[in-house]
């Protein structure tokens, strides 16, 4: 059980780290604000999702596991909302210039 759990952890956390890398590279390399936003909010939340998935087998209790999942859901909600808000203000040429 714990052996299989460890394999899941290593695979998932590695995948999560890869998506964080992808998001960061996108943030640094993409040409304009909207594409950078696209790279960041999608890849990062996927990365966090994989990290959470990887840590689930290590969670001590059911409550800890539920907390981990709710953290991911909150982060997803935050990412989705913020990307909308920033994209809108960037497009209107408001405070984002």
């Amino acid at each position: 059980m714990s052996y299989a759990g460890d394999i899941v952890t290593i695979a998932s956390v590695s995948a999560g780290a890869f998506f964080f890398l992808a998001g960061t590279v996108g943030l640094l390399r993409f040409p304009d604000t909207l594409t950078r936003l696209h790279a960041l909010t999608k890849a990062d939340n996927l990365g966090l999702g994989f990290v959470v998935l990887g840590l689930l087998p290590q969670a001590a209790s059911l409550r800890d596991g539920l907390k981990l999942i709710s953290i991911w859901l909150l982060a997803l909600l935050a990412g989705a909302t913020v990307s909308q808000l920033i994209a809108r203000s960037a497009r209107q040429g408001g405070p984002a210039r």
């Binding site: 709710s70 909150l74 909600l77 909302t81 909308q84 808000l85 809108r88 405070p95």
Partner: protein, 314 residues
């Protein structure tokens, strides 16, 4: 050198670099964003130092409320920045630099001169945890062993809100704090302001409740609740209450009021001011903390909303 040491050195270097950049950068706005990121990194360091209570406070204040205060200030300053061409002269700048360097040097000397095994009361606080029935030593110190300090801190919060309110102009005296927020009722922000607060209230109460035995407490929970209230206000779904509202003022004095009431009870029936009867220590402390949660949430949110700006039609 273990992998943990390398990791900690890298984290410290990152935070120091970010701090230097935040001071050096000329644009107010960039410095603000830098500072918000700095708060997040410092929360990581507190977790690394095993000071979870402090990390929780840093996350709630630095991640939520601090960002709103600083960005609001930056937005106000930005309107005046272009018109205010006046820069401080060389003497003022040199004086400020000398003063900052002196303070930094004094702090560094104080830290370097600490005796090697720093004097600590931590073992005593942990050893006497059974006296209150709470397992979190930080809550024990705040609410029982040094309860007087905490009670007076809440009075300071009250004084702060009185100070902010006294900045109101005569027309707006006793009126609603802050500008009125207009937002699209079907927009993204209004959606978030409907979805997030129920979750946030549960988390705020959870942080208070878990503070009895694990890291957490009234201040962190109150900061979370204050953020939720501000979110609803910023989305235009609710307005700030007028400063003259009696119910609001009752909430503002509830925390310190109950604290002093229990303290006087200790003076009358027990050994000393704020002496809890051993058998009822835990329910009394949790009761005070619940009242303080409401007070802290209301006070922090109103401090951020600012001075009354709009008069209430009578």
């Amino acid at each position: 050198m273990s992998i943990t040491t390398v990791f900690e050195s890298v984290l410290a270097a990152l935070v120091l670099g970010l701090a230097l950049w935040t001071i050096a950068v000329r644009e107010t706005y960039s410095a603000t964003v830098g500072f918000v990121a700095y708060g997040l990194m410092v929360a990581l360091i507190w977790v690394g130092l095993d000071a979870i209570d402090v990390a929780l406070t840093e996350a709630a204040i630095g991640g939520g409320l601090g960002g709103i205060v600083l960005l609001g200030a930056a937005a106000r300053l930005r309107d005046t920045e272009s018109t205010a061409a006046e820069t401080p002269n060389r003497m003022v700048r040199l004086g400020a630099a000398a003063l900052s360097a002196a303070i930094a040097a004094a702090l560094a000397i104080a830290i370097l001169l600490l005796p090697d095994a720093a004097p600590t009361l931590a073992p005593a606080a942990v050893a006497n945890a059974a006296a209150t029935g709470l397992a979190n030593p930080v809550t024990n110190v705040l609410m029982a062993f040094r309860g007087m300090d905490t009670a007076l801190e809440k009075v300071v919060l009250l004084l702060a809100i009185v100070g902010v309110w006294s900045l109101a102009s005569d027309q707006a005296w006793g009126g609603r704090p802050g500008p009125h927020h207009e937002a699209d009722p079907n927009g993204v922000l209004a959606f978030l302001a409907r979805l997030l607060p129920p979750v946030g209230i549960v988390i705020g109460v959870y942080i208070l409740w878990t503070g009895a035995d694990h890291p957490g407490g009234a201040f962190q929970g109150g900061a979370v609740l204050a953020s939720m209230w501000l979110l609803v206000i910023m989305a235009g779904l609710a307005d700030t209450p007028p400063a003259s509202s009696r119910r609001l003022r009752l909430v503002l004095v509830a925390g310190p009021g109950l604290f002093f009431l229990v303290g006087l009870g200790g003076l009358c029936f027990g050994a000393a001011f704020l002496a809890y009867p051993i058998a009822h220590a835990k329910p009394l402390i949790l009761g005070i903390e619940t009242a303080m949660l409401l007070t802290i949430a209301a006070t922090l949110a109103l401090l951020l909303a600012g001075a009354p700006e709009r008069s209430v039609p009578r």
